[in-house]
C-alpha cells in the first residue's frame, strides 16, 4: 500500500536526522536560498544547501564529509536559512544534531577547535559558578585555544569601562548546577 514506505528503516545519516529532529532533507530542492542568505556561508567548506545535498545522496563518503565539516561548527544558529527556506527545511536543529553526532563519533573538524574550546570554556564556567564568569571564560578559553595574544588589548579597556569583574558571581545552589551537568553533558560523554 501507499503508506508502506513510511515504515522503511532508514539508517542513513539523513534518516537519523529525520528521526531525531523531524527535519527531512528530502524536502530540500536545492534552490540555494539558504546559502545565499547565510551570513557565514563564505566561511563554510560547504554552504548549507550543499551540506544538505551531501546528506541527500546518502553516500557514506558524503556523510563523512558532513560530520567532519567546518560548516556545522561555523553555523551561528542565526535562523536566517529557515526564515527564508521555501520548503521550510529547518536547518538549525539539524546543525545542532550534526554537531552532537560529530562530537560523539569523534569527527570534529580541527579548524573548529577554537569554537568548541570556547563553548566548552563557557559551559565550564556555568558548571562551576552557575553563571558566566566572563573574565574566567577569557582566561580559560585562551589557555585551551593557545590563542593568547588575541584580545589582550580589549580586556584592560573593559576593566576600565567597568565591563569586566575580576571575581565571579556565584549562584547559591551550586549542587543543583552540578547535578544538571551530570545528568546531561557528562552523562552523554560517558
Amino acid at each position: 500500500m501507499s503508506e508502506s514506505h513510511n515504515h522503511l528503516v532508514d539508517n542513513s545519516l539523513s534518516g537519523k536526522i529525520k528521526k531525531e529532529t523531524g527535519v527531512s532533507v528530502a524536502r530540500c530542492y536545492q534552490c540555494g536560498k539558504c546559502s545565499a542568505g547565510c551570513p557565514v556561508s563564505v566561511d563554510m567548506d560547504y554552504p548549507p544547501s550543499l551540506l544538505i545535498r551531501k546528506l541527500q545522496t546518502g553516500l557514506p563518503e558524503h556523510e563523512e564529509q558532513v560530520l567532519r565539516s567546518k560548516s556545522i561548527w561555523f553555523c551561528l544558529s542565526c535562523e536566517m536559512c529557515i526564515a527564508r527556506c521555501p520548503m521550510e527545511v529547518d536547518i538549525p536543529p539539524m546543525m545542532d544534531y550534526l554537531r552532537h553526532e560529530s562530537i560523539r563519533l569523534k569527527k570534529v573538524n580541527p579548524a573548529s577547535k577554537n569554537i568548541i574550546s570556547f563553548h566548552k570554556a563557557f559551559l565550564d564556567s556555568i558548571e562551576q559558578t552557575g553563571k558566566l564568569y566572563e573574565m574566567g571564560l577569557i582566561v580559560d578559553y585562551k589557555t585551551r585555544s593557545f590563542n593568547l595574544m588575541q584580545d589582550v588589548m580589549l580586556a584592560p579597556s573593559m576593566f576600565a569601562k567597568g565591563k569586566l569583574s575580576i571575581l565571579p558571581e556565584v549562584i547559591k545552589n551550586r549542587r543543583n548546577m552540578k547535578q544538571i551537568f551530570k545528568n546531561t553533558l557528562k552523562n552523554k560523554q560517558k
Binding site: G32, A36, S41, R84, M87
Partner: protein, 666 residues
C-alpha cells in the same frame, strides 16, 4: 407471473472448456420463474441474438438473463436485441460467467456451482427489474460563455461557427483578458494584440454571439440542456445603443489621474474611460467610485461634450434572464503581486515589478511606448534581474505548485529586454527551466545562446536598495552554492499565477467544484479535462490552472466541440438508472422525513428541497426531490437515507436484497 428466459453462452470454448454449460442450463430451467433455458456456442453472433429475439416472442418472456461475458462487453448488444423483440431493454441482465468465472477458475464442480449461483442471482434480479424509458431532455441550443479572455473568445467563436447561439458575459468593460495586455508571445514572439484583436472584433460582429461586457453572472439554476441564468449588467452610465465610440468624453474628462488597471498602475486614465484603445466594444464606462459627479454632484462635462447624448448618469444595474443549454467557464487567472515576499522588499521599491507590468512596459502601446524605462526615474535599466518562481513552488510564503507559464515568459522577457537594450545585461535566477512544449526548449535556448541571457541556478535570498541600485543576493547552486550579488537597475519578479478573485463565488453559484487553490476542478484529470462534475458545464483556459495561450485555446476548442456534440440533438438521451424519492400521493404521506442527510452527499447537487403546501398555500412539509437532469446514478443517497425513502433504478433495494439471498441460498 414472471416468465424468464435464460441463455447460456459457450463463447466458443472460452466458457465451455471450464464450465459445464449444458448442466448450468439444465439447472437454471428449474429456477422459479424460468420458462425457457438454453445454451449455445456464440450468443452474441447473429444466430445467437435471433435465438433471444425468437424466444422472447415465442415464450412471451418478461425478462432475459444472458449468461456470458461481462456486461461491460455485451450488455448493449443484448438490450438492443430485446428491444427489437418488443421487450423493454431494461428487462435484460447479464450473468458474468466468463471474466469472473471460466477464465479465472479451474474446471470442476465448484466452478459450475459458481456459474449456477451467478445465474440464479441474475434471475432473481431481473424478476424485479422495472421497465424503464431512457430519459429525454430537451436541449436549449444556446451556450453561455463566462469570461472573454482568449479562451472564452475561442470557445464562443467555435460554437457560433457551428451554428449555435452564444451569450458571452465579461466582467470588465472590454473582452480580451490577459492576452490583450501581453506584448509579444512565446514561443514565436508574435505581437499579442495583432493576433488577438481580429478575433475580438469577430466576437463583436458574429451574429450568433450576444456580448455582455461589464456584466456578471448573478445566479444559475437548472441542469444540462436547461439552465436559467441571471446576468447582472452593471451600469456603464453610457447608453451603448447611442454611443458611437468617438472618445471625446474620455479626452475632456478633467479627472485624469486614476491609476490605470490595464497598465497595472503604471499609467493613468480618466473617470470615463475605455480600458485600452483596441477595446471591444469600444464604448466607455464611467468609474462611479472616482467620477467627480458621482462623488460631489458636480461636473457632468462628459455629458456636455457628448454629441450623441449617450451619457446616462441615472442608469442602473440591469438583471437579464437567459435560457441556455450549456455553460463554458473561461474566467482565467490572476498574477500575485510583488508585495507578499517580505525579503524582496514588500513591494516598497518602485523598480521591482511583476511579469505583467513588464509586458506593459515592453508593449508598443504601453505606458512607455515599448521602451525599457524603470519606474523610479525613467532611466533605461542597464542591468536587469529576472527572478523565476517568485512565489510559486514555495509552500512557506507563496503557493506550492509550479505556475507553469513563468519559465517561458521569463525567457521571453529576457529576450525582449535584450532586443531593446543592446548593451544591457539580463540575469535570470531560476531553479529549473520548465519548457516542455513544442519549440519551447528551443525558445529558452535561444534566449541563452543568441540573446545572451545569463541564467543563474539559484533562488534569490534578498533584494535591497542602496544608492539607487537594487542589490540582488542569490546563490549559484551550480557553483558550490556560492553567493552571487548583482547590483541591478530593475528587477522583474515572475510572481505566481493564481486563481481569479471571485472564482470561488462563481464556482458556488454554478455548483461546480474547485481545488484548494480555488482553481476550477475538471471531472477527470486525464479523460475529462474540459468537463466539470456538473453535466453541461465545461471549463477552458487558465481558470483551471495556470496555462499558456496554446493550451487555453486547445481547451476552448475542446469545450466548443463538447458543446456542439450536446447541441447536435434536439433532445438529450440519458440512462434512466437514476435515483428517485418515494412519492406517494398525497405527498405528505411520503416516507421521506425531510432530514436532508441525502442532500450534502450527492456529488452532483441533484437533490433539492421541495415544498409541500396545503390548499391555502401553507407549508406542511419539505421533501427531498431528485432532479433527474442532474442525478448520475451513483446511489450514495440511497445508502444514506435512514428511512429508505430513496431508491435507484437498476440497483433497487429489493433487487440487491434478492441478489444476495439468491447467491447464497443454493
Amino acid at each position: 407471473m414472471a416468465r424468464i428466459g435464460v441463455f447460456i453462452c459457450h463463447c466458443g470454448e472460452n466458457i465451455s472448456a471450464t464450465v459445464d454449460c449444458p448442466k448450468v442450463s439444465e439447472v437454471a430451467a428449474k429456477f422459479p420463474g424460468v420458462v425457457y433455458s438454453i445454451d449455445y456456442k456464440y450468443m452474441c453472433s447473429d444466430p445467437g441474438q435471433s435465438m433471444v429475439v425468437n424466444a422472447i416472442k415465442e415464450h412471451k418472456l418478461t425478462g432475459v438473463v444472458v449468461s456470458a461475458c461481462s456486461p461491460r462487453m455485451h450488455e448493449p448488444t443484448f438490450r438492443r436485441a430485446c428491444a427489437e423483440a418488443g421487450l423493454n431493454p431494461y428487462l435484460c441482465e447479464m450473468a458474468n460467467i466468463r471474466e469472473h468465472c471460466s477464465w479465472v477458475h479451474e474446471k470442476g464442480d465448484k466452478t459450475d456451482q459458481k456459474a449456477i449461483d451467478v445465474v440464479r442471482m441474475m434471475v432473481e434480479k431481473v424478476k424485479r427489474n422495472n421497465a424503464l424509458m431512457s430519459i429525454k431532455v430537451p436541449v436549449t441550443k444556446t451556450a453561455l460563455v463566462i469570461g472573454g479572455g482568449v479562451a472564452g473568445i475561442q470557445a464562443a467563436l467555435d460554437i457560433a461557427n457551428a451554428g449555435h447561439k452564444v451569450i458571452m458575459v465579461e466582467r470588465d468593460p472590454s473582452i480580451g483578458g490577459h492576452m490583450s495586455q501581453l506584448s509579444e508571445t512565446f514561443p514565436t514572439l508574435d505581437c499579442s494584440q495583432c493576433i488577438l484583436t481580429p478575433r475580438m472584433v469577430e466576437v463583436a460582429q458574429n451574429p450568433n454571439i450576444k456580448l455582455y461586457t461589464y456584466a456578471e453572472v448573478e445566479s444559475v439554476e437548472g441542469f444540462v440542456g436547461n439552465f436559467t441564468v441571471k446576468i447582472r449588467k452593471k451600469a456603464k452610465s453610457v447608453d451603448e445603443t447611442v454611443c458611437n465610440g468617438c472618445g471625446l468624453c474620455t479626452t475632456k474628462c478633467p479627472n485624469k489621474k486614476i491609476p490605470n488597471e490595464f497598465e497595472l498602475g503604471m499609467g493613468k486614465r480618466p473617470a470615463i474611460y475605455v480600458p485600452f484603445p483596441q477595446a471591444v466594444p469600444n464604448i466607455p464606462v464611467i468609474d462611479k467610485i472616482n467620477c467627480t459627479y458621482y462623488k460631489t454632484g458636480k461636473c457632468k462635462i462628459c455629458e456636455k461634450v457628448c454629441q450623441a447624448k449617450a451619457i446616462r448618469f441615472d442608469q442602473e444595474d440591469e438583471i437579464i434572464e437567459v435560457a441556455v443549454g450549456a455553460i463554458a467557464i473561461c474566467t482565467g487567472f490572476d498574477v500575485k503581486k510583488t508585495d507578499f515576499f517580505p525579503e524582496y522588499g514588500y513591494g516598497k521599491y518602485k523598480d521591482i515589478i511583476d511579469g505583467l507590468q513588464f509586458e506593459r512596459m515592453a508593449s508598443a502601446s504601453g505606458p512607455t511606448s515599448g521602451e525599457m524605462r524603470r519606474p523610479s526615474d525613467g532611466q533605461t535599466p542597464k542591468k536587469i534581474v529576472f527572478v523565476a518562481c517568485a512565489g510559486s513552488r514555495d509552500p512557506a510564503k507563496g503557493i506550492e505548485y509550479c505556475s507553469k507559464i513563468c519559465c517561458m515568459y521569463t525567457a521571453k522577457h529576457a529576450m525582449l529586454y535584450k532586443h531593446k537594450v543592446h548593451d544591457g545585461t539580463a540575469y535570470v535566477f531560476y531553479m529549473d527551466i520548465r519548457a516542455a512544449g513544442k519549440n519551447y526548449d528551443e525558445f529558452t535556448r535561444r534566449g541563452i545562446e543568441e540573446d545572451g541571457a545569463k541564467y543563474i541556478r539559484g533562488r534569490v535570498s534578498k533584494i535591497y536598495e542602496r544608492d539607487g541600485k537594487l542589490i540582488v543576493v542569490g546563490a549559484d547552486t551550480l557553483m558550490n552554492a556560492e553567493t552571487v550579488e548583482i547590483e541591478a537597475d530593475m528587477v522583474v519578479l515572475a510572481t505566481a499565477g493564481v486563481a481569479n478573485p471571485g472564482a470561488e463565488e462563481l464556482a458556488q453559484k454554478l455548483h461546480v467544484s474547485y481545488d484548494q487553490h480555488k482553481f476550477f476542478s475538471e471531472a477527470h484529470p486525464k479523460l475529462k479535462p474540459v468537463e466539470t462534475n456538473t453535466a453541461g458545464i465545461y471549463l477552458a483556459g487558465a481558470c483551471q490552472a495556470p496555462k499558456d495561450i496554446p493550451e487555453s485555446v486547445a481547451a476552448a476548442s475542446g469545450v466548443a466541440g463538447k458543446i456542439s456534440c450536446l447541441f447536435a440533438n434536439n433532445e438529450l438521451t440519458r440512462e434512466p438508472l437514476i435515483a428517485f424519492v418515494d412519492r406517494t400521493a398525497p405527498p405528505e404521506y411520503s416516507s421521506c422525513t425531510g432530514c436532508f442527510l441525502c442532500q450534502p452527499v450527492c456529488p452532483y447537487n441533484a437533490i433539492e428541497r421541495e415544498d409541500v403546501k396545503d390548499r391555502n398555500g401553507n407549508l406542511i412539509k419539505q421533501l427531498a426531490y431528485i432532479n433527474p437532469g442532474l442525478c448520475q446514478g451513483c446511489g450514495t443517497c440511497v445508502a444514506v437515507c435512514k428511512s429508505k425513502s430513496i431508491d435507484i433504478d437498476g440497483y433497487t433495494n429489493s433487487q440487491m436484497y434478492y441478489e444476495v439471498d439468491a447467491l447464497l441460498n443454493s
